[in-house]
């Protein structure tokens, strides 16, 4: 399998803090890969190592077939990066920054640049000191999307954008994917990842806790069931694979393991069902499951 990013057992410490503690991450060429984790879990540190801005203490990192530290300059010709907190040169205009970044990456497509400026509703003649956080992010995004590269590394790229602009961003990412580019998208916004990503890696405290396709991950989780019944509620609590059962008159809610669903639905239909909603777990729920340990 051809991988754009291959990280194995990466370790990085800052003083006594262990920011990365054996992290694994594989991003296949051509996929949009979600890199999920709460703040401080090591996403940005991982990206900085991938960009050759930091050196790992241990483990292996490979980027586009090269060594991210040793071959940094060469590899950077083939990628574009949008940091989570974009700071720009206050005396330059947004247009100047976009063209500077484009030029050092070997030129950008002027038609695509203008189209992106229009779609993101960004005024390129303003000085960077006058831009809001969201607008600074747009400058970096336009520069990244307008350049002809194989890999986009986006670190929480929508944290300053309003919902309308998030929609534009999503379209842009899907278009990049359509053009065969690889995208590494770090985020703690789950809906964004759900809408865009082929596969996700979930990390916590510097370790990868889960990795795979969204469907694959859901396989291990429960389905939420809400039912309005016509008769007395059955004794579901006794069934294996049923969790968090709450009963309110004829209303019933619970979480059900995938292999227990048949049994549960059988019990419900014996009583009679007036209304039934089931939904697959959102990433929110995936997340809660993985991080409830950390919260305690």
């Amino acid at each position: 399998m051809n991988a754009a990013v291959r990280i194995e057992a990466l370790v990085k410490s800052f003083g006594r803090t262990r920011a990365l503690d054996g992290l694994d991450l594989t991003v296949r060429t051509g996929e949009v890969h979600g890199f999920l984790g709460p703040n401080g879990s090591g996403k940005t540190t991982t990206i900085r190592i991938l960009l050759g801005q930091m050196r790992a203490d241990a483990g292996r990192a490979e980027l586009l077939g090269g060594d991210p530290w040793r071959d940094a300059t060469e590899l950077h010709r083939r990628l574009a990066y949008v940091p989570g907190d974009v700071t720009l040169w206050p005396s330059l205009t947004g247009g100047e920054v976009i063209d500077l970044l484009g030029r050092v990456r070997g030129g950008l497509d002027p038609r695509r640049r203008d189209e992106l400026l229009e779609r993101f509703e960004l005024d390129p003649r303003k000085k960077c000191r006058a831009y809001s956080k969201g607008n600074r992010q747009k400058v970096a995004l336009v520069a990244a999307f307008a350049s002809d590269v194989e890999l986009l590394v986006l670190d929480e790229p929508t944290s300053g954008l309003d919902p309308l602009m998030e929609a534009v961003f999503n379209e842009c990412v899907l278009r990049e994917k359509g053009d065969g580019r690889t995208v590494l998208l770090s985020s703690h916004i789950l809906s964004e990842v759900e809408a865009l990503c082929d596969r996700v890696s979930i990390i916590r405290a510097g370790r990868t806790v889960e990795s795979g396709s969204l469907t694959g991950l859901r396989h291990f989780t429960r389905t939420s069931v809400t039912a309005q019944l016509t008769g007395p509620t059955p004794a579901l609590a006794a069934l294996p694979g049923v969790y968090d059962l709450t009963v309110d008159g004829t209303r019933l809610r619970c979480q059900v393991d995938g292999d227990a669903l048949t049994a549960v639905l059988g019990e419900l239909s014996k009583v009679g069902v007036r209304a039934l909603t089931t939904h697959p777990p959102t990433l929110e729920e995936l997340f809660l499951r993985h991080y409830e340990g950390a919260a305690r």
Binding site: R48, L51, G52, Q53, M54, R55, A72, T73, E74, H76, R77, L79, A80, Y81, P83, D85, V86, T87, L88, W89, P90, S91, L92, T93, G95, E96, V97, I98, D99, L100, L101, R103, V104, R105, G106, P124, R125, K126, K127, R129, A130, A140, V153
Partner: protein, 523 residues
């Protein structure tokens, strides 16, 4: 105005070092000038001769204005009146902008404004602190002056006259802070107004257009005539001007948004022509380089003109003795003066060069380097793009300053430029040191560089008064620069090559270490 008191305490907390240092130095300066004047010009004849020479030197008239009275007090007020006002004005402008517009620009003001802080409170707090600080430094100078045997009333007036320039420019800065959204522009505007008004006073005094001086706060600071007639009522002019400017500033601040300016923000080009790391570095260093180039050119010319009349002006036995100890027997006063001033100015050039040398680090700390280095720009290339300006910048500044000084002095542009350029290896050594620190201790690089630079200046100063040992003094790179005007150029080669080699090793080490370490953004 709600919250003004809280903000005043915040300002005092943030400037807890800067404010006391500024006030202490400004309050002690009059005492040291008065005692030096008393020591140098012991009798009335010497004072009269000095005053007459000063009044016939256009550069002195332009810088300081006329000597109103050739007494100890009169000469002290003349020596310090104008420069004291200038320093007070500059510091006041910087402080007011720092606590008003700069706060808004960074968005910290917004954080406060959402709390219980009235919309006028930040401006009121900044003005209160700066006006009070000026008053304090004026009054604190009184005991020292009285201790030199000067009358109390005149000394208070002298202190208030110095303070009055600070007041006036605090008010000017309060006004310019309302105009633009960028703190740099607001600061530049206030400083430009200051420069213009200083020029107005210069023209008034050197060209004999006396009434012009009434248009400038720098004129008012002298027109109070302390120790020479004590015109207290001139202070009323200052108070009225400050009141009017402040009222306008408050009125304007109600008519604009937080973080907005009354003048529209300037727009720039929609497309860029910056080609790469070096193009970007040029854009970032350009305005500072051009600005300081003009500044040092003017400074050099001023020094040249001043040295012109020097031989006659300070021809006292005490001064001749001083000159002989520094420059050896037969040295001319103006050459010794030149040598000393160039020494001081070369340290000023070093300060400018240090800012350039630390620029790479400030780019890194702000996170801007991250964006550029994630593109195909190598670390070394990026570091060198800034280092080039830290090395070539001071060369240009020293050459321009020396050439201007030489031209204004006796037409010998090359000779004096050669003497100033002799300081280049010493400046480079400091640049190399800062570059090494950026490579080794990125977080502390700026603080350590500036502290070491300050220490070196202090050691040089103490050595000047023979208060420290020669071996300690040898640690300063500036000490190893031969005074080519006094000793001839032949003495120069070995120490200058040595310093250049040290600078080269330090800088190369710094860049090599920078390439090997992690990037460390601040926060």
């Amino acid at each position: 105005m709600t919250g003004t008191w809280t903000l005043i305490r915040l300002i005092l907390r943030r400037d807890r070092v800067l404010l006391p240092v500024w006030i202490a130095i400004s309050a002690l300066l009059p005492l040291s000038v008065a005692s030096a004047t008393a020591a140098l010009y012991t009798d009335q004849a010497a004072r009269d001769a000095f005053a007459a020479a000063s009044m016939s030197n256009p550069a002195q008239l332009a810088m300081r204005g006329p000597v109103y009275e050739a007494s100890l007090g009169g000469l002290t007020a003349w020596t310090l009146g104008s420069s004291g006002a200038l320093i007070g004005a500059l510091v006041s402008v910087l402080l007011v902008i720092r606590h008003t517009r700069a706060e808004e620009e960074t968005g910290r003001r917004e954080l406060l404004a959402s709390g219980v802080v009235g919309r006028h409170a930040p401006l009121a707090a900044a003005l209160t602190v700066v006006l009070a600080a000026n008053l304090l430094l004026g009054l604190l100078s009184v005991p020292g002056l009285v201790g030199q045997g000067l009358p109390v009333g005149s000394s208070v007036l002298f202190g208030l006259s110095t303070a009055s320039a600070g007041w006036a420019f605090a008010a000017v800065a309060a006004l310019t802070a309302q105009l633009t959204a960028a703190s740099g522009t607001a600061r530049g505007l206030a400083v430009a107004v200051g420069g213009l008004l200083f020029a107005v006073r210069s023209v008034a005094d050197s060209e004999g257009v006396a009434w012009l001086a009434w248009l400038s706060p720098f004129g008012w600071a002298r027109l109070t005539r302390p120790y020479a007639g004590d015109r207290w009522w001139v202070l009323a002019v200052v108070v009225v001007a400050v009141a009017v400017l402040t009222a306008v500033a408050f009125a304007l601040s109600t008519r604009r948004d937080v973080a907005g300016g009354l003048l529209p923000a300037r727009r720039g080009p929609a497309t860029g022509t910056i080609r790469g790391a070096y193009g970007l570095a040029w854009r970032l260093h350009r305005s500072a380089l051009v600005g300081s180039g003009i500044g040092f050119c003017l400074l050099g010319a001023l020094v040249g003109v001043a040295a012109h009349g020097m031989d006659a002006q300070v021809d006292t036995p005490q001064f001749r003795e001083l000159v002989a100890t520094i420059g050896g027997p037969g040295a001319s006063i103006s050459e010794v003066f030149f040598t000393f001033v160039m020494y001081v100015l070369s340290q000023l050039v070093t300060a400018v060069a240090l800012v350039s040398a630390l620029r790479a680090r400030s780019e890194e700390a702000a996170g801007r380097a991250e964006l550029l280095l994630a593109a195909p720009v190598g670390r070394v290339r990026w570091a060198l793009s800034h280092l080039v300006f830290a090395l070539a910048g001071p060369a240009l500044l020293l050459a321009v300053m020396g050439a201007a000084a030489g031209l204004a002095y006796d037409g010998g542009a090359l000779r004096v430029a050669g003497a100033t350029l002799a300081y280049l290896p010493a400046v480079w050594t400091m640049v190399g040191f800062a570059t090494l620190l950026v490579g080794v201790l990125p977080r502390q690089a700026a603080a350590v560089s500036w502290s070491v630079f300050g220490l070196i200046m202090l050691v040089d100063l103490l050595a000047e008064f023979k208060l420290v040992d020669g071996s300690v003094r040898d640690l300063s790179p500036f000490v190893h620069v031969p005074a080519t005007l006094l000793e001839g150029a032949s003495a120069a080669v070995v120490p200058l090559l040595g310093l250049t080699a040290v600078a080269g090793v330090l800088a190369a080490g710094g860049v090599a270490l920078l390439r090997r370490r992690d990037l460390v953004p601040s926060g």
